[in-house]
């Protein structure tokens, strides 16, 4: 990648903020939302019922305001007994490591939440445990029952359900036969920033466009801590689950569609608590996901590129979003045009690992103002400054294969680097970097990345990508 393009590059990747509220600096740094004055001190347990109570008082003051608030209040009153906060605590202390929300979906104390709310417990049960707290202050331990890491959902169950749990009732799902219309008012419940349970009104805006994993676009303010909370229609039926929000927008929030939650409940409601390692099951789900993604991706033809001499693999924008940029034409050095295509959805595994997505980018260089030697130098610098990653807690170091490769009459210097997942057997990250070496003062450099694919699919995708390059005879 060219260094100057790196500096000028627009913030093309506008990553979503997952909504679990964690005590980590990451959550604070990335959350643009003003946080209470003393964010570092864990909030006391007594504070939650107090603030909930004061919220109720405020509600009664506004009793005779318009219809909308009245229906929000009705929804909150309906959801209140079935709404919970899901807390991840340190194994041997009562300090909370992160908090999210959840909803009662089974009379035996079955609770639906996000996978990322319980990920610490799922991955490191020796360090963390789960707890719940209802709006009226009942607390208890939770057990992990099942999870769907791809759609970011999890089922937990109360370890010792209180005798009164069946009196609380459960949330029902909106029938698939009556789909929501765009613009319909829906209500998100949860405990934002651990300050107290809240109901947020917003609008259903259909599914997010160009997203490989279906997500509902919810125009309403979701905040960290609301993750896993239910989103209800005006009858109190679940239409989705709070999952993420965009840091760079306003009221751009995302929900997991209810159908995936129903599917998880259908297969996991009667499962025994998970006591063994979750990594094998997680790898199985991710392998299934990457198979679907790869199959769909390689079935799509590459887009036509307008360059006079090179055909470059640029993906269709079915589930990717591309951003283009170029340097000013008055530049006396290397002119380039750049295209950056990325998937919006990545799968959350843990705080440091997202996977299950792809990106494709290329830069087309014109070095006619530089001459052959200087062009070769610039191209070389741009070629060798590509990061392939280092060994981490989750991934091995990269191992590469390199050679001159020919595609469609175009000779290229090509490097393919793979990293293996250290805890998810059978999954790899693959990066293919390719630089044309046919001309003295012009060329193209492309890079393809796929995260969390099988070795065979990594090879398949690399082949598919490299075949997208070709030399075009000038018309």
């Amino acid at each position: 990648m060219l260094l100057n393009s790196l500096l000028r590059r627009r913030c093309a990747r506008l990553s979503a903020l997952w909504l679990a509220l964690a005590a980590s600096p990451w959550a604070h740094a990335t959350s643009p939302i003003a946080y209470p004055a003393a964010p570092a001190s864990p909030l006391t347990r007594a504070a939650v019922p107090t603030s909930a109570a004061s919220a109720a008082e405020a509600d009664s003051d506004a009793e005779d305001s318009g219809n909308l608030s009245a229906s929000a209040r009705r929804i909150y009153d309906f959801g209140r007994p079935r709404l919970l906060q899901v807390r991840t605590l340190l194994r041997d202390q009562d300090s909370q490591a992160s908090v999210g929300s959840g909803s009662l979906v089974g009379a035996d104390g079955l609770i639906l939440t996000n996978y990322h709310v319980v990920s610490q417990v799922a991955l490191e049960p020796q360090r963390y445990r789960l707890n719940f707290q209802t709006v009226d202050g009942v607390t208890g331990a939770l057990q992990l029952i099942a999870f769907d890491v791809v759609h970011d959902l999890a089922l937990v169950r109360m370890a010792k359900p209180p005798a009164t749990v069946s009196e609380r009732g459960v949330f029902e799902f909106r029938p698939a036969t009556t789909p929501l219309a765009q613009g319909e008012r829906i209500f998100s419940l949860g405990n934002p920033l651990d300050v107290g349970f809240a109901v947020v009104e917003g609008t259903y805006n259909g599914l997010v466009e160009r997203s490989f994993l279906p997500q509902i676009l919810f125009s309403g303010s979701l905040n960290p801590g609301m993750s896993g909370g239910p989103v209800l229609d005006d009858k109190g039926h679940i239409v989705g689950v709070n999952v993420a929000t965009r840091r760079d927008g306003q009221q751009i929030s995302f929900l997991v569609p209810a159908e995936f939650a129903q599917a998880l409940i259908a297969r996991g409601a009667h499962a025994k608590p998970i006591t063994a390692s979750v990594e094998a099951e997680m790898a199985r789900q991710l392998l299934q996901h990457q198979q679907q993604l790869t199959t769909r991706f390689v079935a799509l033809p590459w887009r036509e590129t307008k360059h006079a001499h090179y055909s470059v693999p640029v993906p269709q924008e079915d589930f990717m979003r591309c951003w283009g940029s170029s340097n000013p034409s008055e530049s006396k050095g290397l002119s380039f045009e750049r295209s950056d295509c990325q998937m919006d959805t990545a799968i959350f595994i843990n705080e440091s690992l997202r996977t299950g997505d792809m990106s494709v980018r290329h830069e087309v260089y014109d070095g006619s103002k530089l001459g052959a030697l200087r062009y070769a130098e610039e191209a070389g610098q741009s070629f060798r400054n590509e990061g392939m990653g280092r060994r981490t807690h989750d991934l091995t170091a990269p191992k590469c294969q390199e050679d001159f490769v020919e595609s469609g009459g175009l000779p290229m210097r090509t490097v393919m680097c793979l990293r293996a997942y250290r805890r998810l057997p059978g999954l790899y990250d693959v990066a293919v970097l390719s630089q044309s070496v046919d001309a003295k003062t012009e060329g193209v450099q492309g890079r393809f990345d796929a995260r969390g694919v099988s070795f065979d699919n990594a090879m398949l995708l690399a082949t598919h990508y490299l075949k997208g390059f070709a030399w075009k005879r000038s018309p």
């Binding site: 020796q126 530049s331 006396k332 050095g333 440091s352 530089l370 052959a372 030697l373 200087r374 070769a376 130098e377 610039e378 191209a379 070389g380 610098q381 070629f383 060798r384 400054n385 392939m388 280092r390 060994r391 807690h393 091995t396 170091a397 191992k399 590469c400 294969q401 390199e402 050679d403 001159f404 490769v405 020919e406 595609s407 000779p411 290229m412 210097r413 090509t414 490097v415 393919m416 680097c417 793979l418 990293r419 293996a420 997942y421 250290r422 805890r423 057997p425 790899y428 970097l433 630089q435 070496v437 046919d438 001309a439 003295k440 070795f455 090879m459 690399a462 082949t463 490299l466 075949k467």
Partner: protein, 330 residues
Amino acid sequence: METLALIETLDRDGQPRQVLRVSQWPVRIGRAIDCDLVLDDPHVAALHATLDMREDGLHVVPAASVNGVRLGRASVVPGSTPLLPSSGQMTLGATTLRVRLASETLAPEERLLDLHHYEHRHGAALVALIVIASLWKGFDLWLSAVPGAPGSALAWGYLSAPIGLMVWCVVWAIGSMLFQRRFAFWPHLQVALTWLLVAVLAEEVCQQLAFALSAPLIEKAGRLVFVGALAMMVWRHMGLLLPTRRRAFAIAIGSAVVVGGGLLLVDRSMQQEPLVGDLYLGTISLPGMRVAKPVSIDAFVKSAAPLQQTLSHWAKPGDDDDDSPSGDDD
């Protein structure tokens, strides 16, 4: 009268400070005026020792003293009268003496390490080196400069390297001043330029060859040559300071390279990084430089199959400490 021997009083640097011609044995040495060799050293007794020629050679006869007599590192036991060693050196108090006997065979004449007027004798070589280095540096700057960039920025880039080199050579020249009493700037400049050029050119040639033949190993070899050339440079610098210690310096630098390199290799292999150089060859050269034929995509992808085995080996748990259940590292 015939001179039987010379007794030299040596200074800190081993140079004679005072010389006594000996025409008869024994020779009495001490601080008292009536000694044959009078030493002005408060650590020496009035009569400290006597040198006496016997049938088997010259003997040291110590007198009563606080500090005694040392031959090399060994102290002479009171009451014994050892033979003076072949080096002829002995230490009385804080004063070192060297005895040269008339009967000794002289060592052959040594070639002078003449650091003085060096630039006159090696002028042509020095000028050639400076010209080559300047051209190289200029070419290097030209390569990475954007056409039309302001000349002042280039000038700074151009000046920083010679200034750094000057400082380097001045530091070594001060070292020469310390040991050789000569501010040997030019000899050090020649050493530095020669080996820096060898290092940089070898690296560049290896990069180009590696690209031409699609052989990343050549580039890695270039890196080793680079390090070797820098080690040679340091060794030559040190040799100018103390020519007699070259062997010891070679051993010291060699072991430093071996130990440092070894530690680096262990560290890199722990991090699963390539032992030498980068992850992949980063050189892109002129199209005409390429000799190796490109392979087909299928052949390339097939050749990557062995990566799977390496990676699954790397991914195996239990090869580091952060797998332990009690690990509290993140």
